[in-house]
Amino acid sequence: MDKNRNAKNYWKENKKYLLILLGIWFIISFGAGILFKDYLNNFHLGGFKLGFWFAQQGSIYIFVLLIFIYIRLMNKLDKKYGYSEDDTD
C-alpha cells in the first residue's frame, strides 16, 4: 500500500514538472517565435529582430536548456522517492 502511494506521488510530481517545462517550451517556440513574432520584431538583439531571433536561434538554446533542467529535476526526484538507479544496481 505504501509503495503504491509512493509511486502515485512520484508520478504526480513528475507530471507537475512536465507541465511547467512544456509550458515554457510552448511559450518560447509557439509564443515568441510564431504568434507574437511580429510584435517582438519591434525590439532588437544586436543585429537580430527579436521575434526572428527567437524563431531561428533562441528557441533552440532554450530547448537544450529545458532537457538538461529536466534531467536534473528527475534525478533529484528519483532520489527523493528512492527510485534512483544507482542504489539498486
Binding site: 509511486a7 517545462l21 504568434l35 543585429g47 533552440i60 530547448f63
Partner: protein, 590 residues
C-alpha cells in the same frame, strides 16, 4: 591539390574509418543486432542519435531551404529541435523502462493486440520508406557531384556501402559508425561556416556573426533585407506563410520527430532510464550545434549569392556558376538580351529547367521552358550548402570536406532507417506473428535478408524517383505525427486507453493524412491532379496537416476508449511500471 583529389582523399579516409568500426563491432546476437546489446554509453548514444537524426535533408537541404524562404524556414529549425523536447520528456524514459526492441513491440504489448501491432508495423514501414527514399537520392546527388559520376551510379555506390555496414554490424555496428559519422559531419558543416562568418562579419561564431555587422557598418540581416526589398523579394526576416500554417507545420514536425521509429529505437540501446534521459539531452545539444549554425549559413549564402550574381555579366561569372549550370542545378536565360544576370522575384522557369542541346550567345545552356517574368535565374535550393564554400572562395580541402560530411549525414540516416525496416519485418512480423518458434540465428538471418531487400527497394526509389518522392519526404513527419505519436503518448499517460481507442485513432489518423497528401500535394498517378492551395482546409498546408490529423487521432482515441472495455489488469500494471524507473519495477512485481 585540386578539389577532386581532396574529395577522394577525405571521403576515402572517412569511409575506411566507418568500415573499420563496422568490422570491429560485429553483431553476435539478435540483441546486439537490434539494440546494440543495450550497453551503449549516453554520450555515444547521443552522438549516434544525432547522426541518425541529421539526415541529408538537415545537412544538404535545410540551410538552402531557409536561404530561399527566410523566416518561413524557422518551421524546420524549431520543429526538428523542439520535437526532441517532447521525445525526452514524454517518450524516451518510459519506452526505455518498457524495455523492448521496437515501437510496434510497445504498441502491440501496451494494446494487447496483434491488430494494433500490425497497424503500427504498417505505419512504421510507410514512414521509414518515404524517409529513406529521400536519403538514397541525397547519397546519389553527393556522389555524382563530387566524384563526377552519373547520379544513378552514385545511388548504387551508396546502396553497396550502406549494405555492407548494416549487414556486418546491425545496431551495434551502426551505432559506433554513427558516432564517427557525427564527428565527420559536424566538422564538415562547421569549418566552412566559421570561415565564411569571419570573412563576412569578422566574428568566428556563425551564431553571433549572423547578427553582426558587415564591413560598411550595417547589420548583415538589415543589409540582406534591403537587398531583398530592392530586388522585389519579400523581406528575409518576415515570412510569406500565414501564422497558423507556420504554427501547424511546426507542431506537425515536432510531434513527427518524436514519433519517428528510427529515432525512438535509439533509446532502447542505453542501459538505464536515467541514461535514456541523459542521452536525449546529449543528442539535442549535439544537434543544436548544427541547427543554430544552419540559419547563419543561410544568411551568409543568400547575401553572397545575390551580391555575386545580381546584374553581373555572364561573361564575368565565376567558375562555380558554370559548373553547377553543367549539372543542371543552375540555369540562366537572358530574357532582356543585355548579357547580365537579373535575379528578381518570380520563377525563372516552369518548375525545373528543361535544357536544349544548344548553347547561347555567351556559352550559357539554353532552356526551353523559361517563363515570361523578368527573373532570369534558376537556382536549385539543394546546392546552397554544397556550393557555399566555392561561392565564398574557400580552400579546396574545405570543399572536399563538405562532400565527406554530406555523405556521412545521408549514410548514417539511411542505415538507421533500413535497420528499422528490417526489424519491423524480421522481429515484429515474423518472430512475433507469423513464425514465433524461429531461433535467434534464423531471426538474425531474416533480419539481414530484409535489410538486403529494403536496400534494393530504397535504391530503386533513388534511381527512379517517382516524381512525388521529394514532396513526400517532408510528409513522413506528418504521417508519424498522425499515427504513432498519439498512440505512444496516450499509452503512457492515459491508463484507461485501450486497444479499440488506439487502433481507431491510428487508422483514422494515418488514413486522413494520406488522403490529404494525395488530394493536395501528390495527386494520384495521372488519375487525379493535386488541388491548389486555395482549396486547403482551414488554410493549412499538407505539411502542416499532420497537426490536425494528430488532434483528430487523440480525440477519437479518447472517445472510443471511454465507450469500450477498460484494458486488462496486467496491462494497467505495465503502465504503472513504466512510469517509474527500474528500482520500483522489481517492487511492484511481488
Amino acid at each position: 591539390m585540386s578539389i577532386e583529389v581532396w574529395t577522394w582523399l577525405l571521403v576515402g579516409i572517412s569511409f575506411a574509418l566507418y568500415f573499420g568500426i563496422a568490422i570491429w563491432a560485429r553483431a553476435g546476437s539478435t540483441k546486439d543486432f537490434y539494440v546494440a546489446g543495450g550497453g551503449v554509453s549516453p554520450l555515444a548514444n547521443g552522438m549516434a542519435t544525432a547522426a541518425d537524426w541529421m539526415s541529408a535533408a538537415s545537412f544538404i537541404s535545410m540551410a538552402g531551404i531557409i536561404s530561399f524562404s527566410g523566416y518561413d524556414g524557422s518551421v524546420y529549425l524549431m520543429g526538428w529541435t523542439g520535437g526532441y523536447v517532447l521525445l525526452a520528456l514524454l517518450l524516451a524514459p518510459y519506452l526505455r523502462k518498457f524495455g523492448k526492441f521496437t515501437v510496434p513491440d510497445f504498441i502491440g504489448d501496451r494494446y494487447y493486440s496483434n491488430t494494433a501491432r500490425t497497424v503500427a508495423i504498417i505505419c512504421a514501414l510507410i514512414v521509414s520508406f518515404t524517409y529513406v527514399a529521400g536519403q538514397m537520392r541525397g547519397v546519389g546527388i553527393v556522389f555524382s557531384q563530387f566524384l563526377q559520376v552519373e547520379i544513378n551510379l552514385g545511388v548504387i555506390i551508396g546502396m553497396i556501402v550502406v549494405l555492407i555496414f548494416a549487414f556486418l554490424g546491425g545496431m551495434k555496428g551502426i551505432t559506433y559508425t554513427q558516432v564517427a559519422q557525427y564527428c565527420v559531419l559536424i566538422f564538415a558543416f562547421m569549418v566552412p561556416a566559421i570561415f565564411i562568418s569571419i570573412q563576412m562579419t569578422g566574428n568566428p561564431l556563425p551564431q553571433i556573426g549572423m547578427g553582426g555587422r558587415v564591413e560598411d557598418g550595417t547589420f548583415l540581416l538589415e543589409k540582406l533585407d534591403n537587398l531583398h526589398t530592392q530586388l522585389g523579394f519579400n523581406e528575409y526576416t518576415s515570412g510569406t506563410k500565414s501564422t497558423w500554417d507556420v504554427f501547424a507545420i511546426t507542431l506537425a514536425l515536432m510531434a513527427g520527430t518524436s514519433g519517428l521509429p528510427h529515432v525512438i529505437v535509439r533509446f532502447f540501446t542505453v542501459p538505464k532510464v536515467r541514461d535514456a534521459r541523459k542521452s536525449a539531452g546529449w543528442a539535442l545539444l549535439l544537434i543544436a550545434i548544427l541547427y543554430t549554425t544552419a540559419p547563419a549559413v543561410s544568411v551568409f549564402a543568400r547575401t553572397n549569392l545575390i551580391e555575386t550574381v545580381s546584374e553581373t555579366p555572364y561573361a564575368e561569372i565565376p567558375e562555380w556558376f558554370k559548373n553547377w549550370e553543367n549539372t543542371g542545378l543552375i540555369a540562366w536565360t537572358d530574357k532582356n538580351n543585355d548579357g547580365k544576370i537579373q535575379y528578381l522575384k518570380g520563377e525563372a522557369v516552369n518548375e525545373k529547367p528543361l535544357f536544349t542541346e544548344k548553347r547561347g550567345a555567351y556559352g550559357q545552356r539554353m532552356v526551353s521552358n523559361a517563363t515570361t517574368n523578368e527573373n532570369e535565374l534558376y537556382v536549385d535550393r539543394d546546392i546552397m550548402v554544397l556550393a557555399n564554400p566555392e561561392i565564398a572562395q574557400l580552400p579546396n580541402w574545405v570543399i572536399g570536406l563538405v562532400a565527406a560530411g554530406g555523405l556521412a549525414a545521408a549514410l548514417s540516416t539511411a542505415a538507421g532507417l533500413l535497420l528499422v525496416i528490417s526489424t519491423s519485418i524480421s522481429h515484429d512480423l515474423l518472430k512475433k506473428q507469423l513464425k514465433p518458434d524461429i531461433t535467434d540465428k534464423q531471426e538474425l538471418l531474416a533480419a539481414r535478408i530484409s535489410i538486403l531487400i529494403a536496400v534494393l527497394i530504397a535504391g530503386l526509389f533513388g534511381i527512379y524517383p517517382p516524381g512525388f518522392v521529394a514532396a513526400v519526404v517532408a510528409l513522413a513527419f506528418g504521417l508519424a505525427a498522425a499515427s504513432f505519436f498519439p498512440a505512444i503518448v496516450l499509452g503512457i499517460f492515459d491508463k484507461r486507453m485501450n486497444k479499440e481507442g488506439a487502433i481507431a485513432g491510428m487508422t483514422v489518423g494515418i488514413s486522413l493524412m494520406l488522403f490529404y497528401m494525395v488530394r493536395f500535394k501528390t495527386g494520384l498517378w495521372g488519375i487525379m491532379e493535386p488541388l491548389p492551395s486555395s482549396e486547403w482546409w482551414f488554410g493549412i498546408s499538407p505539411e502542416g496537416f499532420g497537426t490536425i490529423a494528430m488532434f483528430i487521432n487523440i480525440a477519437l482515441s479518447i472517445i472510443v476508449s471511454r465507450f469500450t472495455a477498460a484494458p486488462p489488469d496486467e496491462v494497467q500494471d505495465i503502465v504503472e511500471k513504466i512510469r517509474i524507473p527500474s528500482g520500483a519495477g522489481k517492487a511492484t512485481e511481488h
